[in-house]
Amino acid sequence: MLDEIGKNLLKEVAELDALPVGAYNIRVNGQSSERNTTANIDIVTKEDKSGIDIIIKPETKKESVHIPVVLSQSGLTETVYNDFYVGENCDITIVAGCGIHNCGDEKSSHDGVHRFFVGKNAKVRYVEKHYGEGEGRGKRVMNPTTEIHLEEGASMQLQATQISGIDDTVRKTTAVLAAGANLEVQEKVLTTGEQNAVSEFTAELNGAESSCNIVSRTVAKDKSTQHFSSTLAGNAPCSGHTECDSIIMDSAKVSASPNLTAADVDASLIHEAAIGKIAGEQLLKLMTLGLTEQEAEERIVSGFLK
């Protein structure tokens, strides 16, 4: 069962005060701790490796799956493989997320490999939140890998947030889109101290009228470093847009590299990247409304990452 630390982590990553409604699997310190399945959603433990298969029957609507992970044991490192099989015409929400509390001196890490197989015309909203805390010197590390396969007409909305406490992260997201499929990604990252975050997106737009929109907003403070890369391949009449917008502060370092390849005359691909400090006039405007410089800065950063 969860202790206070675990409960707090669960609240941070999944906004849960109690067990969620619907299907769920809560993983605590490397073990599956609580599980619930429904008539339409089955959760099966993998036999060959650590992880679960989440199988959602076709036509399942308005249901949710929560699969939060909590690590509070210092020095625990794990790689977990979760596969989602979403049937045709589903409309579901999946909430994942990982919270690490490390009060020891050893590295704690969770590497989640999530694969999504989304059936025809299904809709998935996937929310993933990463959070770390604890006063120990041990690093808190998360390396999520997300692999997305969207069949004809399928759509997926991915919201990934990493606002505090993760020392090192390499996030890799790949997507393959069939005809008429749509992928929307919103990523929010804040790094502080000496943290390092790498985010790599690759989307292959293989079907006619497929589309994807990847928007990353990040803030790098102190001496932290960030790297964002996005690779779009337009192999059919399609539209793809990626945008990386970063606020850089203190002695941080941010890099962004787009890579667009079109192999069809009707592929339309756009990349936008902007890196810059908070504009002086933004601070001044909020200061003329009574905020101190520091309050203004906090307000701008929190709004940007909202």
Partner: protein, 236 residues
């Protein structure tokens, strides 16, 4: 009070400006580049005068920061409103009001500037808003602030579609409901017409300061001065 900058050579932006502003509506006018916006920035604390002092209700605020001046009751509507990715109209009005406000309360300020709160309250202050919309929101933020000394830097600029009448109405309403001072930088005769007093600034100097009745006729004459070639062209 004066303000100088060094840009290769010393340049005086404002010199020997000595004013007592205590009327309801005071309008600053004068040619472009004359120092009007700089004076507004000096009052709000965005730039610090290189000589002289500024008082608010008898208190020396020369060394007050922008924040301290805002808390003391000075507010500034920027000539070029600032855009923020991630902050909504609601956020800005809430910050300005200094407390959480309901849609109804926000509606009070936004409707004054001709915007429907329902349509705008959750809009982000980003590039999706037009210059005119940003300008109206900027004015609404200063209304929400309720400052006793509110400065508006060219409020008419960019609000082409919003009738001028509504803007005038905003200031007239401020005059009747609010005991403080509204200082407006403007080139517009219709705004000059609602002034109690007019300040005419040219080349960093206050050339004239007096009641509307005293100053307005002289401005009409002044507009006929200047470059002969330009005047001839205008008459053609």
């Amino acid at each position: 009070m004066g303000y100088q900058v060094e840009d290769g050579e010393e340049k005086e932006i404002l010199r020997d400006v000595s004013l007592k502003i205590d009327d309801n509506i005071v309008v600053i006018t004068g040619p472009n580049g004359g120092g009007k916006s700089t004076l507004a920035k000096v009052i709000a604390g965005l730039v610090k005068p290189t000589e002289g002092k500024i008082f608010l209700d008898g208190t020396d605020i020369t060394d007050y920061s922008v924040t301290e001046r805002a808390k003391a009751g000075i507010s500034l509507a920027f000539q070029q409103p600032v855009r923020f990715k991630g902050l909504s109209v609601r956020d800005l009005i809430t910050i300005a009001a200094g407390k959480d406000i309901s849609v109804n309360e926000a509606c009070k300020y936004l409707s004054e500037v001709g915007l429907c709160a329902k349509d705008y309250i959750d809009r982000e202050l980003n590039a999706s808003l037009s210059g005119g919309e940003m300008k109206r929101i900027e004015i609404a933020s200063v209304l929400a602030r309720g400052a006793k000394f509110a400065v508006f830097d060219e409020p008419e600029a960019g609000i082409d579609l919003w009738s001028f009448k509504s803007l005038i109405h905003v200031f007239e309403k401020m005059r009747s409901e609010h005991n403080g001072t509204v200082l407006i930088i403007s080139h517009q005769e219709r705004i000059l017409n609602i002034a109690d007093k007019i300040i005419y600034i040219k080349d960093g100097l206050v050339e004239r300061y007096g009641t509307k009745e005293e100053i307005l006729p002289t401005l009409m004459d002044a507009s006929r001065e200047g470059c002969d070639i330009l005047m001839d062209k205008m008459e053609d």
